[in-house]
Symmetry: C2
């Protein structure tokens, strides 16, 4: 068995965490008894500054042939975010119809939460985020520039297909976990898109009588992830709301540096993409101190998606074991002073 994986380090610390994690990929292949071919594409903001585009014209065709994509991060202090992100990360999610974004929030043993009274092991939920439409749709406009009657509109688009896909994925996840699903919308203020979303959840729920459904408004949900994060099992939300909830989930679980994610093409006809939730972090880029664990956990999710569940589990457990070990190396975001590489090296010894 040979898997071919494309590596897109991207920008800033993305480059560092992907580069540091490469040896782990080979270890995993060795342990799992499969072959791995990786190709690295140096697309991103540096390329944009030289050539005016983040990726080559045939980027999507090039990536299409891979079994999976591992992305670092995208974003550059000198280029507006809507240029970099809409030039690289977002078009990949869309082109490969990666409709389901899965983001676990786990407060690991040995990690301190910023929340009083929460210890390692207390938080363990997963957010299913709609990933290719909703509030991120490229629909809208801007008229009468500079005039007093200037106006801009931004249209969120929710299709039955897209909404049902993410909602079903979330119900399936709830069924395989504790059977509890929290549906997060803002139906009291958005009577068109969000009421439709609630209707789909209601409809799909009849196929999952074993799953309990709770409804929360996004403002209350954001607050509750701080107030009672231990009570959640699976959350399902739109693209924007999932984006917000997963950042809160990451911080209450100790650090943005440990939050992994999977962008999944459900049909399996195109590659799925795995990436840390964190950004390119220009403030610490180039210093070799970025936390690689979000990427390591994303690699675990990648192997799980490819069906290599044993390898996936071993990587996940190696991270658990490292974090639970008070003497193991930690990056500064976790209160240590270890380098990105040292953390990965230590993970390798635990595999």
């Amino acid at each position: 068995m040979t898997y071919i994986i494309s590596l897109l380090p991207g920008d800033g610390i993305g480059v560092e965490v992907i580069e540091a994690t490469r040896p782990l990929l080979d270890d995993a292949a060795h342990a799992g008894g499969f072959e791995l071919e990786t190709t690295r594409y140096d697309w991103g903001s540096e390329r944009y500054l030289e050539s005016g585009s983040m990726m080559p014209d045939d980027a999507i065709e090039t990536l299409e042939t891979y079994d999976a994509i591992l992305l670092g991060a995208v974003g550059h202090p000198d280029i507006p975010d809507h240029v970099t992100l809409r030039g690289m990360m977002l078009p990949i999610r869309k082109a490969f119809d990666q409709q389901v974004c899965k983001r676990p929030s786990v407060l690991f043993d040995g990690v301190e939460s910023p929340l009083r009274g929460y210890d390692g092991g207390d938080i363990d939920f997963v957010v299913y985020r709609e990933n290719t439409e909703g509030e991120y749709a490229d629909a809208g406009g801007h008229e009468h520039r500079g005039y007093p009657h200037e106006v801009a509109v931004q249209t969120a688009v929710y299709t039955r297909q897209g909404t049902e896909t993410i909602v079903r994925a979330a119900f399936e996840a709830a069924r395989s976990r504790e059977g509890r699903l929290t549906n997060v919308t803002k139906s009291n203020a958005q009577a068109h898109g969000m009421v439709f979303w609630d209707e789909i959840v209601e409809e799909v729920s009849s196929d999952y009588p074993d799953v309990t459904v709770e409804r929360l408004l996004v403002d209350a949900a954001s607050m509750d992830l701080v107030r009672r994060p231990d009570e959640f099992d699976v959350l399902v939300a739109s693209n924007l709301f999932g984006d917000i909830l997963t950042d809160i989930g990451a911080i209450v679980s100790g650090s943005m540096g440990m939050a992994p994610s999977a962008n999944i093409n459900v049909e399996g006809h195109s590659p799925s993409m795995f990436e840390p939730v964190h950004g390119s972090a220009p403030d610490i880029a180039g210093r070799g101190i970025a936390n690689p664990l979000a990427t390591v956990l994303s690699v675990s999710m990648l192997f799980d998606h490819l069906g290599e569940s044993e390898v996936a589990r071993d990587i996940w457990r190696a991270v658990e074991s490292q974090l639970a070990d008070a003497d193991a190396p930690r990056t500064p975001d976790l209160g240590g002073s270890a380098t990105t590489e040292a953390v990965v090296e230590d993970i390798r010894t635990r595999l």
Copy 2:
């Protein structure tokens, strides 16, 4: 001098906190040497259940004549939120062009934050939330119901007038505080509406060279209100983002039960509305244990808006003094067992 104030208790604990706070209004008038005439309108969900509408047809004309409105809360477990809210609170904000929503987040001395390492006095910021358009615009639709190609759209509308109004209000606030403004958008994913918003902030900032502007994406801002809430001074955000940020602000400051808000008609031709940020809380309604402090602080903001700044300050200080006093009555959300009424009675003795 006589002020006329309309009281809209609304639903659930809204009724309890408004009723409990009434005596305080009279005390304030007495202390401030002005007259106060209040009229209570029992509009809300009970009315809806009886008559099919939350408010009478001439509700807006009726309210128009008042100097200010004090609202409790709106929401009923048996009626969808988009019916109750769009039947009462939201139309008032719109009809009276209450474009500026001001919401302070203060961790008072004597109150425990759920965040480790934060003590009373450590958090003190204010969110300026656009209040009548943006993502709450009643624009959108829903087609092909029940078909596989069913689709719903929800359009956010940002006018120059609305955006400039909230942005200028926020800059003014920053100037009168510590001179720091955080502009929260999601321009990397919403290239139409949010990029426009950023442009307006950029433009207005040239009139405020004394104010430092920081830009944050809404996901990062949500995280940072948990990670470093002590570092914020003034935040400015769209309707939806302001909604989310203020709920997070309320919880990191100890309890939703202490978060006040002002919905301000900037021109002054229509009444402004003051209301606690919390909802109708059906789970505790009827038990007399709701925290009245969000309403008491909203009353302080009301008097401040009417120009009675001394009375406003005295009420605010009475709340500070109560919270700093370990022997003072507290409602259950703050770890005590006092009733709503007992807390207001104690505030009155401190005036």
